[in-house]
């Protein structure tokens, strides 16, 4: 028992820098055993850093033959090493799942011996869970770069999501910090899994029963702030990966300094770039759900996101020609572009205005961020002011009235790293 506890401590600690936590996207049903997948995902608890815990996220082992400077488990790092046995992982997963602690298993591993040997072990675990334990809960499996296609294909038949991390946004960055790796070894398996998914999907149109293959799709992760990329570079890479590999998610992980000696990396004690990470996620959402094009938000002139205001507001301030938008007549596509109005509120507005012109007091109650939105929209009873205020004034107004959680933090330390 004590030994298991120590292993869990080491191997959970080593896995936590992988930020992917989602348990959504799969419709796997309980077929006579235990467990099913919840399509929207369920976060079972949250740690004190505010991140959700939905999966038991562990490494099979933190022994690794690679020496990537940004990774805690790198060969040259002096940390305690441990390895779970296959049975231990199965036992932990089942017992946590049965107590409703978790939504499923997130299994990754350091690479020991070689890629295939590692991948075989991971495959053995997921197979045991699915067949011996008749477990139908969520499984997120890391694809091991360099593993053979046969192993990846077989694993895909048992898991819900697969992912493989880009680690650093650019090839140059990767050369610098992890000379043994390259982006191609990530792209190849991503492309392979994507093709398999598409192939099975087209077969499913003709054949009644095709096996489910990685039903929740693939994701990847980039470390932010370890190397000096611009936000434009980062988001361009993300955008390309969304398009080329049909990824479900790209995760941005603010670099948490883990050792002193590397001269190229931010040193221990410097805060992880949480605000920048937040802005990148906001941009990611604008691209995927708000129909923004990347060059509207980031371009050669604006290659970094504004840390003071969110990217939609920043775009609106740069493009006053689109505003104010009349919420009683504008179409959905324009309404979701108003800063402070989300998709839910936009749908409510579209429904409600069929019953009569909407007034300010009604919008205030619908759950929009009125302090931000008021400068960019007109309601039935909005006071028309002579001459439009300059966008600089609007910005000042919003910032002075707003209650940003980042108030007072901007420009302290975080920015200096990248200037």
């Amino acid at each position: 028992m004590d030994r298991i506890e120590e292993k869990l401590k080491i191997l959970a600690d080593a896995a936590k820098y992988d930020v992917s936590c989602s348990s959504s996207g799969s419709k796997r049903q309980n077929t006579g055993g235990i467990g099913d997948a919840s399509f929207g995902g369920i976060c079972h608890t949250y740690t004190e850093d505010g991140r959700c815990v939905s999966l038991l996220k562990i490494l099979l082992t933190n022994h690794c033959i690679y020496d990537c400077a940004f990774c805690v488990s790198r060969r040259s790092n002096d940390v305690k090493r441990a390895a779970f046995t296959v049975e231990e992982v199965v036992d932990l997963t089942m017992n946590f799942y049965r107590r409703n602690y978790i939504e499923g298993l997130f299994l990754s591993s350091g690479i020991f011996k070689n890629a295939d040997f590692t991948m075989e072990r991971l495959l053995l675990i997921v197979k045991k869970l699915r067949t011996e334990q008749r477990y139908n809960g969520y499984i997120h499996l890391k694809t091991i770069p360099g593993a053979s296609e046969e192993l990846i294909r077989e694993a895909g038949l048992y898991v819900d999501r697969m992912s493989i991390n880009l680690e650093l946004p650019t090839e140059e960055g990767l050369k610098l910090l992890a000379p043994e790796k390259d982006h191609d070894s990530v792209k190849k398996p991503l492309a392979f899994v994507k093709e398999q998914i598409q192939q099975l999907r087209s077969e499913a149109k003709m054949i009644k029963h095709t096996p489910s293959f990685v039903p929740a799709g693939q994701s990847t992760q980039m470390v932010i702030g370890a190397t000096p990329e611009t936000d434009l570079q980062i988001m361009s890479v993300a955008n390309t990966f969304y398009q080329d590999y049909k990824l479900k998610r790209v995760y941005y992980s603010g670099f948490v300094p883990i050792h002193q000696e590397h001269s190229l990396l931010p040193s221990i004690g410097s805060a992880p770039p949480l605000l920048r990470e937040n802005r990148l996620y906001q941009t990611d959402w604008l691209l995927r759900f708000y129909d923004f094009r990347l060059d509207e938000i980031l371009n050669a002139e604006h290659s970094h996101l504004d840390l003071e205001v969110d990217p939609k507001l920043s775009w609106a301030l740069r493009n006053p020609q689109y505003f104010p938008i009349d919420i009683n007549t504008a179409d959905y596509k324009m309404i979701i572009r108003i800063p402070g109005v989300g998709r839910q509120s936009a749908l409510k507005i579209m429904q409600a205005r069929k019953f009569g012109k909407l007034r300010e007091y009604q919008l205030k109650k619908m759950g929009i961020a009125f302090n931000r939105a008021r400068h960019f929209m007109v309601c039935a009873d909005s006071v028309v002011s002579l001459g439009t205020p300059s966008m600089e004034t609007v910005r000042g107004h919003i910032l002075s009235k707003g209650n940003s959680k980042y108030k007072g933090k901007i420009g302290q330390g975080q920015l200096l790293l990248f200037s």
């Binding site: 028992m1 298991i4 506890e5 869990l8 401590k9 959970a12 600690d13 896995a15 936590k16 820098y17 049903q29 309980n30 006579g32 055993g33 235990i34 467990g35 099913d36 919840s38 369920i42 976060c43 079972h44 608890t45 949250y46 740690t47 004190e48 850093d49 505010g50 991140r51 959700c52 815990v53 038991l56 996220k57 932990l92 017992n95 946590f96 049965r98 107590r99 409703n100 602690y101 008749r134 603010g254 948490v256 805060a271 992880p272 949480l274 409510k348 507005i349 429904q351 409600a352 205005r353 069929k354 019953f355 009569g356 909407l358 007034r359 009604q362 109650k365 619908m366 959680k405």
Partner: protein
Amino acid sequence: MYYLFDHTFPGLLCCVFESFERKEFEITPVLEEEFQPDFFSHTRKIVTVPEKAGRVQQALLQKVGRQTALDFFKIFLSEDREAWRALFSIIQYVFRYSPEIWQNYGHPDVLYLVQTLKKVNRERHRMKAFVRFHKSRDGLYVASIEPDFNVLPLISDFFRKRYADQHWLIYDVKRGYGLLYDQCQVTEVHLMEEEHAANRRRTSVGDTRALEIPLDDRDRDFQRLWKQYYSSTNIESRRNLRLHLRHVPKRYWKYLTEKEYG
């Protein structure tokens, strides 16, 4: 005029039935035991008749569809008196004029109901996440909860499908009833009166587990492992207690294994 009913959903539907039968439309439905009569108030005691409630429910299904009818039931489970009043008035409106009122988010009653619905749905989702089973010596997985709203009926299907091969009991300490699953069907169970009273005493003095059940030998081990995992997966340099508390408000900690005091 006040209609006095019995705090059940069929009871509320019967109020609707009676109000149409008697053509009394200026109605506020209130709970019989909560009603404080004053000198001028007229009241009518509504008896819950399943057939009448069934007819109203059928009519509702036809008028507004399955989803909205379910939403009405969910709103009822909020146990919020103001929501009950608004719900009653909106159902009346649906039958007298138009079911489209439900999309009019500019209407104060509709907006209030939509917001209540959101709260109930959130609580339902929370209970899917925050239920923590303890395994008893005889193999029953037991969990106690104290949800803000009466959401047990809304999570029953979820747990039945997911934990189909284990016996489980989820007990609502606040409302004094639970769901018991025996690998075949879910049944509603109640504690005996004196057990319930003893339970109330125990929970009010701060005992974290409401039900006293001998645990499986390995259960303590897995609780310990879970706590270990919970603390090792936290990244200290990203500490953000404000966000943490927003996601896991303190009132839920009592039943969360990883948050248990001591």
